[in-house]
Every structure is written in C-alpha cells, then in structure tokens.
Symmetry: D3
Subunit: 266 residues, 6 copies
Amino acid sequence: MFTHTRKLQYNAKPDRPDPLMARRLQEALGGQWGETTGMMSYLSQGWSSTGDEKYKDLLLDTGTEEIGHVEMISTMIGYLLEDAPISDADVAGDPLKAATLSGMDPEHALVHGLNAGLTNPNGAAWNAGYVTSSGNLVADMRFNVVRESQARLQVSRLYNMTEDKGIRDMLKFLLARETQHQLQFMKAQEELEEKYGVIVPGDMGDIEHSEFAHTIMSFSDGTGSKAFEGQVAKDGHKFAYQEHPEAMGGVPEVKPADKRLKNNQG
Amino acid sequence: MFTHTRKLQYNAKPDRPDPLMARRLQEALGGQWGETTGMMSYLSQGWSSTGDEKYKDLLLDTGTEEIGHVEMISTMIGYLLEDAPISDADVAGDPLKAATLSGMDPEHALVHGLNAGLTNPNGAAWNAGYVTSSGNLVADMRFNVVRESQARLQVSRLYNMTEDKGIRDMLKFLLARETQHQLQFMKAQEELEEKYGVIVPGDMGDIEHSEFAHTIMSFSDGTGSKAFEGQVAKDGHKFAYQEHPEAMGGVPEVKPADKRLKNNQG
Amino acid sequence: MFTHTRKLQYNAKPDRPDPLMARRLQEALGGQWGETTGMMSYLSQGWSSTGDEKYKDLLLDTGTEEIGHVEMISTMIGYLLEDAPISDADVAGDPLKAATLSGMDPEHALVHGLNAGLTNPNGAAWNAGYVTSSGNLVADMRFNVVRESQARLQVSRLYNMTEDKGIRDMLKFLLARETQHQLQFMKAQEELEEKYGVIVPGDMGDIEHSEFAHTIMSFSDGTGSKAFEGQVAKDGHKFAYQEHPEAMGGVPEVKPADKRLKNNQG
Amino acid sequence: MFTHTRKLQYNAKPDRPDPLMARRLQEALGGQWGETTGMMSYLSQGWSSTGDEKYKDLLLDTGTEEIGHVEMISTMIGYLLEDAPISDADVAGDPLKAATLSGMDPEHALVHGLNAGLTNPNGAAWNAGYVTSSGNLVADMRFNVVRESQARLQVSRLYNMTEDKGIRDMLKFLLARETQHQLQFMKAQEELEEKYGVIVPGDMGDIEHSEFAHTIMSFSDGTGSKAFEGQVAKDGHKFAYQEHPEAMGGVPEVKPADKRLKNNQG
Amino acid sequence: MFTHTRKLQYNAKPDRPDPLMARRLQEALGGQWGETTGMMSYLSQGWSSTGDEKYKDLLLDTGTEEIGHVEMISTMIGYLLEDAPISDADVAGDPLKAATLSGMDPEHALVHGLNAGLTNPNGAAWNAGYVTSSGNLVADMRFNVVRESQARLQVSRLYNMTEDKGIRDMLKFLLARETQHQLQFMKAQEELEEKYGVIVPGDMGDIEHSEFAHTIMSFSDGTGSKAFEGQVAKDGHKFAYQEHPEAMGGVPEVKPADKRLKNNQG
Amino acid sequence: MFTHTRKLQYNAKPDRPDPLMARRLQEALGGQWGETTGMMSYLSQGWSSTGDEKYKDLLLDTGTEEIGHVEMISTMIGYLLEDAPISDADVAGDPLKAATLSGMDPEHALVHGLNAGLTNPNGAAWNAGYVTSSGNLVADMRFNVVRESQARLQVSRLYNMTEDKGIRDMLKFLLARETQHQLQFMKAQEELEEKYGVIVPGDMGDIEHSEFAHTIMSFSDGTGSKAFEGQVAKDGHKFAYQEHPEAMGGVPEVKPADKRLKNNQG
Ligand SMILES: [Ca+2]
Ligand SMILES: [Ca+2]
Ligand SMILES: [Ca+2]
Ligand SMILES: [Ca+2]
Ligand SMILES: [Ca+2]
Ligand SMILES: [Ca+2]
C-alpha cells in the first residue's frame, strides 16, 4: 500500500518556460527507458520476489522512489508549457516563434491542455513492452542496471540541450540518483552472480552443447572481433575465434501443409 | 551487404510435431527478448558504431549470426506445426486433442498456413520498442548482456517444457551460443568501463548533485535494503542508508493554462 | 447494411490551405477521442444491443452519423494540404515557410500524397484500444458521454487555433452535434440508471464489502478531499473520510516457483 | 513523493491456485479499464490540476490508492500461479489438466516465471492510449466515472467466474471501493457541471451552430430513437427528431496534388 | 454521408453456438486483412481520390459495402457466443467443455459481455498500421487486390474449420464478394497500368540507375531463381541473373557524434 | 545462415548533412512499406516455402538483399545527422536553423546519439503487423508486388524532396532494384496464377455463392462505377452492375447474454 506527500522529492521548476524542452523531457517520462519503465519494472520485480528481503526491499524502495520521479518530470513539463503558443495567431510574423510552435508536441495543447502526456517526444504512448520482470533476479538486476544506464545517458544529453538553471538543477539530482541506482543494482547483481553463476541461468552449463560456448564466430568480413581471441572470459575460459563458421544444420524440408489451408506453393 | 546459405547454422528439427511447443517457441522468435530483438539491436549498434573495430565487428558478427537463429526457430516452428489439427472435426470427441486445438495459436493455421508468425506466443506483433541502439557502447553492451540473459533464461525454460530430443538438441546449441554472447558482451563492457568509467556516462560525476549519489533511500517499510549500508560500491564509495528520505522539492504550483484551452479546473 | 451519398453532411472546406491545421485536425480523425473512436464504439454497441430498440437505434443512428464525420474531417484535411511545401527547395531562404515545413506531418506528403492518414497529429496509428463496447449499456452510455465531451473539448481548442472561417464553420457544426450527442447519451444514461441503479452494475451492493463503499480514503497529505465528508452521494449515503487508511491485508508470501523455471531469487 | 508499506491494503490470497483465474485477473491489472489505467489517469490529472484543492487531492488520494490495487492484483496472480503446470509432461494423459495448460497464458511461466505481467488476458501489453488527462476536469471526472464503471463491471463478472472464497473476498473489497470511486467522481462531476455547465466545454454554446444542437438525426431505418423526441434534455431543451437528415455539404472537390508526388489518380 | 438499414446484407446466423469459431472469426473482423482493413482503406482512398469518377466511386461503393461486412461478422460472432461457458463451474468435470473454455477468447465474456471485440483471434487490437491509402491509385489498387486475396484465403480456411451450415452460408457469400472485389480491383489496376505504366510510379524509368533494373541478384546459395533468367518481364525486357552480386558501396565511415551526446564508442 | 561484408551494396553517402532528410528517410527504414517490411516478409515467406525452388530461392535471394538495403539506409541516415544541432543554443537567433531543429526527430539525438532508429518519420516503432506471410504464394507474391510499388512510390517522392546528389544516387539505385523486384514478383505471380487460378484461392469457385461473384454493387450515389458494367473481368466473365443492392439478411436478433454478465441492456 502506498501513501503520497504533495511535496516533491526534489526541485522541479525551470527558470522559464520552454515548450521544446517540455517535449524532450517526455522521453524521461514516457520513453522506452524513462521513469515509468523503471517504476513498473522494479515494482513488478519486487512484488514477484520470493527470496532474500535484501533484494525484495531494494526493488520496492527504488520502485516507489521512481513514482516520485515520474511526478517530478510531469510537474516540470507542466511548468515548461506555461504560456506556450497554441495557434498561428500567437506567432504570426515571428519566424523564431513560428519555429517554436512547429517544434512543439501539438498534443500538449490539444489533448492535454498544456500538460504532460504519458508518451515519448514523438507522441508514442508508453507501453508495457518496455517492462521486464522475469522472475530471475540475476537477469533482472542486469536489466535494472541497463535501465539506469540508458536513463542517465538520456538525462546527460538533456542536460546539454538546455542552459536553464532550474531544469539543470533537477537533472543534476536525477543524475545522482541514477548513479546510486546503477551502483546498487550492480552490487546486487554481483552478489547474485556469486551465488548462481555468472551465466544466466547458472545451472545449464552441463546441458548446453558446450563446444560452442566460448567461440566468437565471424559472420562479417571485418576482422576486428579477432582481437577477443585468447582473452579470458568472465567464467575463466578463453575465447576462441572461428573465421568461417560452418553451417551444420542442413537444408530444412518441412512438409507441405494440409490441403484445406490452400497454401498453393507452386 | 549480406549473403545466405540454405543450410541452417545448426539442426532445427523436432522428433515429432507439437503445435503447443510451436506456440511457445514464438517467444524466442518474436517476443520482447527473442532473436529478432537481438538481430535488430546488434546490427543497429554495429551500423552506428564509429569507434574501435573490435566492437563494431563483434556487433556485426553477432547480429548476422542472429538472423540465422531467427531462421532456425522459424524452421523449427514449421516442423512442429506439421499435421496440426485445424478444426473441431479433426479433434471431435477426443478431449486431449481438443485441448491441443484450444491451446494452439489459431493464427498459425488461419493466417500463416501452419507456419511461424513474427509474434510472441500470445500473438502480439514484434515491435521495435524492444530494440536498443543508443550510440553509447557501454550502455548498449550492458543491454546486450541482458538480451542474452533473458533469452537464455527463456530457452532454459523451454528446455524444461518438452522432452522432445530434436527440440532439445537445438536448444542446447542456443544455450551455448547465448553463453558465448553473454561472455563476449561482458568482456566488451568491462573494457569499455575501464576506459569510460563504471557509471554511464562516465563524465558527469562532477556535474551531478553528488550528495545523493551513494545513498539507498528507503521508501518502503521493509528494512531489507539496509543490508547494503556500508557495502562498497563498484566505484569504491560506500553505500549510505536513509531510513526516512526527505521531500525536498516543495509543493508545485503551475499556472492555470490559457483560457482558450478551456481547462475548467474548478 | 449501409449506403453512402457523395454529398457531405455539412461544409468541410477551408478558406485557404494550412498544413499545420491539417496536422492538428488528425486528432479529430485518428486520435484517442476522435470520430473514428465514436464511429466504431457506437456501431459495436449498437450491433451488440439486445434490449430496448430506443437505445439500439440511438447507437446505430449516431454511429452511422459518425462515419460521415470521419468523411468530413478527411475531406477538410485534404483541402488544407493543397499546395503544401514538400521539400527544402520549396521553402528555401524563407524562415516562416521553413517553420511550416518543419511543423507538418512528413507522412502527409511522403506516405499519403497530401491526404489524411488514420493517425493522430503525432502519427500514431488509430487502434481499437480506444474503443469501448462492454455489453452493459449503463457503463457504455457513460463512456459515450465522455467520448463526446473529450471530442467537443478538442474541437473547441481547434477552434481557437485558427482564424479560418471555413474551418470554423465546420467546427461550429461539430460543436453542435457534440452537444446533441452529449445530451442524448446523458438522457439514455439517466433512464438506464433509473432502471438498473446509479452504481454500475447495480445489483452487487449486497455482495460487496459495503463498509468500504462510502469512505474517501486519504492516501496523500493534501487535505482538500476532506471537503467531501458529509456530502450526500448520488445513492443517498453520506461520504465518510478516513485520514489514515489502514493496511488490512498483511504482508504477502507467495511460494517460490518450480525450480525448472530457474527464478534464482537470492 | 510516495512511500510504501509491505502490507497490502486488503487481503489478496486465494484459497487455492487457479492459473485460469490468474489469466482472467490480468484484465484488472493490465487491461484497458484495469487498475493501471486508473492509477496513471488519476495521478496525471492530479499532477496537472491547477484549481480547487478539493479535486486535486481527491485525484491524488485515489490515484495513490490505485497503486495499491495494482499491487493487490499482482500479488493475487502470483498466488494463483503457484504449482501451475508448465509442460506437457505435467499434464500427460489427463484431459482436464491438459485443458488447464491450454487455457493458461503461456508467458506467465515462460516470460515471468509464474508471476503477473503488465498485460491483459490475451497478453496485450498495457499502453498509455488507455489513459486520459485532458486538463478539463469536467470531462476527466466523467472519464473517471466510466473507468470505475467498466472496472466494477469486470470485477462483477470475475466474481461470477469463480467460487474461490479468497478471490471473492478481494473482489468484494474492490467492488466496494469502485462504488465509492464512482460516487465521489460523480459528486465532483456534478459540482463542476454546476460551475461550468452541463455541456463540455460550457462556454461554446453561443459559438456553435445551435440549430443542430438538439436534434436526433436518424441515419438508420430503425425508429426506436424517435422515442427521445420531445423528451427534455439535461440543459432544459427538448429533443427534436429528424427522420431524413439532409446532406448539406455538397460534393467535395479537392485539387490533384503536386505532380512530384506521383498520385496517378486516373 | 451514410445511412444504415437494420437489415443485414446477407444471412449471418449459425445453426448453433460455437465460441471457438467466434474467436476464429475475429480474424475477419479485426485482423490485419479483415473487413475493417478493407473498409478503412477503400473509404480513405475514395475520399482522397481526385481523378476519374469511375475509380472514386468504385472505392466508395466497395468501402461502404465493407461496413456492412463488418456488421455481418460482428453479428455472427454474437450468435456464436450465445450460451458460452464463462466459468470453471460451467464446465466442471467435462474435459471437452473444459477445452472449449480454454480455447475461447476470455475477453469475449469478461470485456464484451459475450459480444465481438475489434481485435484478431489473439486479442490484438485492430490498428491503422494495416490501412493503405497512398494517393497513387495504381499502387493502391494493387493493395486492394491483395486485401481481397488474403481475406478470401482466410475465409476459405475458416470454411474448412467448421461444418456449421449457417456459418458456411455466410462464408460462401463473402467468398463470392471477394471474388468480385478481386476482379474489379484487378480491372482497375490494369486500366491504370495502361495509362501510367506497369512499374509504380511509371515515370521514373529515365531517372533510375537502369543497369540494375532487370537483374535477379542471387544472395542465397539456392539456384532456383536462376530459372527466371531470360524470361520476359512484364515491361518487355528479359531478366538477367547475377550469381555473385558485387558490393559496390565501400565501407561506410560516419563521423563520431558531438561529444555532448556521450557516445563513448571505444 | 547468413554472412556479411562491411562493404555496402551501393553508395549511401550524401553530399552534405541534412537532418530533415534523415527524418524523412526513416520511412524507408521503419515505415509500413519500408525495407524492414520487405526483409521480414520475403524471408518469412521463403522459410515457409515448401514448393518449387524457383520461388523459394527468389524469396530468399530478395529477402537477403533487403537486409543490405536496411543497412544502406541506416548508414545514410547516420551521415545525414552529422553535425546536426541538438540544443536551442546551437540555433539561437537563427530562424532557419531553429526551423531545422524543430523539424528534426528529437529522438535522433536524445535516444540514438544521432543515429537511425527503427521507426517511421513520426517515431512510430516498426511492428510486425506490417509483415505478410500467409503460406499461399499467389497471395503473397501479390503482396510483394505491392510492397515494392509502395516503396518505390515513396522513394520517388523522397527523390523530389532533395537536390542532394549523393542521396539521389542511392535513391536511383533503389528505384532500379524496386523495378526489378516489382517485375520478378509479377512474373512469379503470373506463373502461379496460371497454375492455381486468377482468384485467390483458386478452388473455391464451386463453393462460393457464385451469383454474387461478378456484380458491382453500388452503395454510393456516385454513378462512376457503372462504367465497369459489361467489361470483361480477368476470369473471362462480364461485370454486372446493381444500382440498388438488396439487404438480404434480415434484422438480426441475438439472445441477451447470461445474467451473470450483467449486460443491463435496457
Ligand atoms: Ca529515476
Ligand atoms: Ca541468438
Ligand atoms: Ca462526431
Ligand atoms: Ca481500484
Ligand atoms: Ca468484404
Ligand atoms: Ca529494397
């Protein structure tokens, strides 16, 4: 069960409106790697967790924090849309203002009354195909590190797309939290790898066709990846390199389907 | 530019048809973490690469291999659908056969003439929201490790969902390749982290509000995550733990929007 | 069965082309609350209807009218795209024209040859996730009122985004029809509520845990919603207010999953 | 900013596992009208709110409660999937068990390790196209009433699809909360209608072509909707009825597009 | 503008309910190549048409007919869902009935109250990504032939999936109309090809690098396509065959991106 | 199995960067009819093929070539994004540059580090709903002709949207290959039609209600389509014309659903 305070976790107020930054910030709200993806992934993983409370709580703590980040970015977008132009009349004759109107998300005004939507900057609705919750914590902790890495990369880029001190203040806070989140999930990942093995999942090594498990196969004519040859992999084995990998599987011959399906294959 | 041999990279022939396994294997073909996601992510990253050939070629080699995995799984699904029932008449009176017909993907027969579709087992069309290509190789190598981890986890589960020797033979090969791919992308990740830093991206540490960068904030009343307190993070700092994180941001007050938008907020 | 006249239900011709308004009008065509959503929802509800002809016909009448509104807006978009710029050469050196080209939907020219697409202004394809047809007419009449409310709100905003007399003439007609449609669906809703009860569905009141059915629970620290306390709800009961709602459900403890799934939970 | 307790708002434990009910409950989690839609809609509306605290807090209170409902249903699905069959071997020879395996969501085991996903029962990923936050509170309160109506309808149907006492206990609680939420949003709607008018938005009545604002137009040959003729609409006017509505708009004639677009229209 | 008669274009009543056929028929309603795709494609093309009335009217006639096909299939699905089981209690102990419940679309009961939804048999919402309206009638007439071909193929398969005389009666009618629609669009296509050329679009032949316009390039090691060598193409030229196509484009070298984007490419 | 050369099939280098053309070219990469759709459709059809090697190899040859086209366009987009502006500061005060920034895809910089994404110009993720692989080669060859027609139409339009010699050089090559692909698939289509009949599928003519198979029914009041009357269809029959098609199906009467579903129909 959750409770909410009207106060934000951190400042989310720009120095001045900027509807183009409002559009860009939608990435952090409703994009593939935005805060909503973090929120729903960590909470789902936390609710699914059946093991050590250390990891379960870490997931629930962080997932709950992320709802507050969704809130901060929604708020910031609202501020940035204050006084935005909404019609040609508002910009008439002024080419810089006309460019602003052209660069805005038209749904910010038309659909949301100058508020945030749950989309990316191109207006694509956020969807749960971005979320991961597999039941396997090694795999999911790795996913979480990626979520925080891609998100922090995007926040860094957003930082360089504006000079506004207020926006940058919020982004500096998010950068720091994403540092923390990268580090915490890496730590959890390492501990879980120690217990279950560095390969996910860790107990199929005897089952797999292991003769193919340490060979870089070169399917492209660049030779750069030969540089891995002889390097030691994280599981202690050395990488081999196969320049011309063999097609071992033969030519397939599936039966024609039931005539009732009318495949008419020639 | 690409060329193709009709021969498969490895065997992809089951001992006998099994339309329910055909449906399950769609996850490996058109699911969030299936081979198509690997193929399109690695190729996109490879084409975008502007740095060391070692990484560019690794991506292009592996992306090209994955097209062959898409091919193997499509082929396997075709074999598994041989002789599948397509109507109530085919199963009439036999409850086990009726259950098979009910558990099949009805589009396998109706839309694809008993062949694979580019969907997951629930018939959701594969979409590029699953793909990642960010331009930042540290972040993307981490993503690639996740792709191979989630994929290998699913292949392991698929292995346990059938006793068919032919299917298992193919899955054992995929398991091994996914071991290799996990290891190679981890190795690349480590080398790139050494160059650019363990946090993605590595050069924002002086910019972020660093006082928030090493603290686990407890937003849930479980106390499990306190166990991280004092542990050493991958960047050498120790984690602090904040039991009651403060709301530092105040209550937001965005201006009402332009009256022309008719927000009627009460 | 349907028939069609080439004549439009009402005028749909602008005074002059305006490709930015063409883009905005896509909301009314292919957006979440646009005419296509009305058309498909009302027709589906009408076809599903098994009760009083009064409601069935109302739905089929209105659904059929909406096809004509889809037609009007498609036509208007076609007019608005006449003579639109399609290349940098068409706008070269003129920053106002350049802004126009930048603000257009690039697919209007490239995909549709300067005609409407079935998308919203951000190019998101209309999808049936916007449609509602539940089988329960009380719930669906309420949905229909919302459809007409959100649509009329957007038409009002569109009205304020242009000075073009021709566009405004069409919008004034749509405003009036959306007034009518709001009123008619409200009337149907009221009649159906009288028959089935004000809560949807109306016959579960004895089954629900009614001690929780008239209490505003405060999960946020704002105290504004306390103002509902003691007010009379539409079913005649008074609202209570619970400042600190209890977590009554205990801490869940789901069993770890079958080992074959390799959850590796730590 | 949000905080979380590990305790659930209410009981969410079934008497026994039932993987088919697990699949059905996905509707309440990740379907068009499920709890996630409520959560994201009310929170977005609350964060966008710039008016009376009474409504802003109501939205934030309820949106926060809904996160807890998402949690309850995710938890319930986890319980219901305990001991579920995952392979043909688990059900072999038993047609009732085979039917269970066929009726399950195959991704529950394969993708989520027997936990909930953020999808509907057909595996369609939840997406933000289900969310509404328009900036206009009259319209949005109406939407919220619909959300609670459709959700309660589905919960009522779920109640009739199982005899399990534990599931029913949770559903009885949700029914009650959905009664409360219907009532509170209706109350807010009524108050806002009093202030802004019963038509959304309320100040375009002088602008619309009002001669078309109170006429049911019959586009279908059923005559049922004639029964509205003369009834008094919520704004005090009477409904007229037009049996053969005129096509007033003429036949459109858009210009052929620029030859560079190669429309080749015949 | 459209009008509607309550009478169906043709019979759409099964001899007896069959909820599995109801699910399958969703393909014809809301699948990629179903009636909705026909309806929206032909109407869009008709509204966009600026040329010969012969084609414009053909498109509008057929698009309008398709709305009636959507209506017939929705109606048929409603009939087929009569008396369908909705809970385990309805099927308890009967494995054939249990298989039926497992094979049904669970949303038919839960979301639509035993009526059709606007989805395919796997519950994927219909979306406008299936629609084509390009402005070029040669290309679009070809698309229309494909729409009718894929649709008729699926109807043929549906025919073989049931013995029900009532369903088959409706399918026989649809088969005939799809014959007509294939033929009419082929005729239009041929006439338009005569005017504009057999290649779409017809006036770029002098611009293209024509030395690559009549050569089958063999990128796979099968040699079957060599059989086209020397055959006469529809434009009168003969096909050449290139066994080992050259990579003419060199190795690309894009510049590293602006450092502010932090690509960290290694 | 596939192999790759780093060399491109043909030149893909513009004379100078142009981020607006980069956005437009996304249509050819990730749009409904772009190269990815060709690649996945032809490969799927090829892998599904069980008939004459002539067609199977044609599909696999062409599908493999298309991967190389995806590569060329991705590469071209990368070149076009070199030196693109990423922030307001980069364009400040210059209205033409401001228009450029406004017209760019903001995700090119923010998500992909100035590289291509797998989307269309409006940022909609490519999805497998664009792909067709039906098992019936007559239908699918027709689809393939459409794919090449729509793609070539778009390439022609792209050609007219730029003066850049480098872009045009690549487009001229693609135009030629799309000529070849149209011709080869038409040839295959013709041969298959000869074998299986001109209607898809060819053996249902005796089953369909043939009295409706050669009549243009006029559902719109335009009379243009009467011009087909008496023309000879491709199967040798003449088209009839029915001015006022009859509604033959009666008014449907589906039973009200089970009371447990609470349809409350009035
Ligand atoms: Ca965050
Ligand atoms: Ca693979
Ligand atoms: Ca309307
Ligand atoms: Ca709820
Ligand atoms: Ca049809
Ligand atoms: Ca191509």
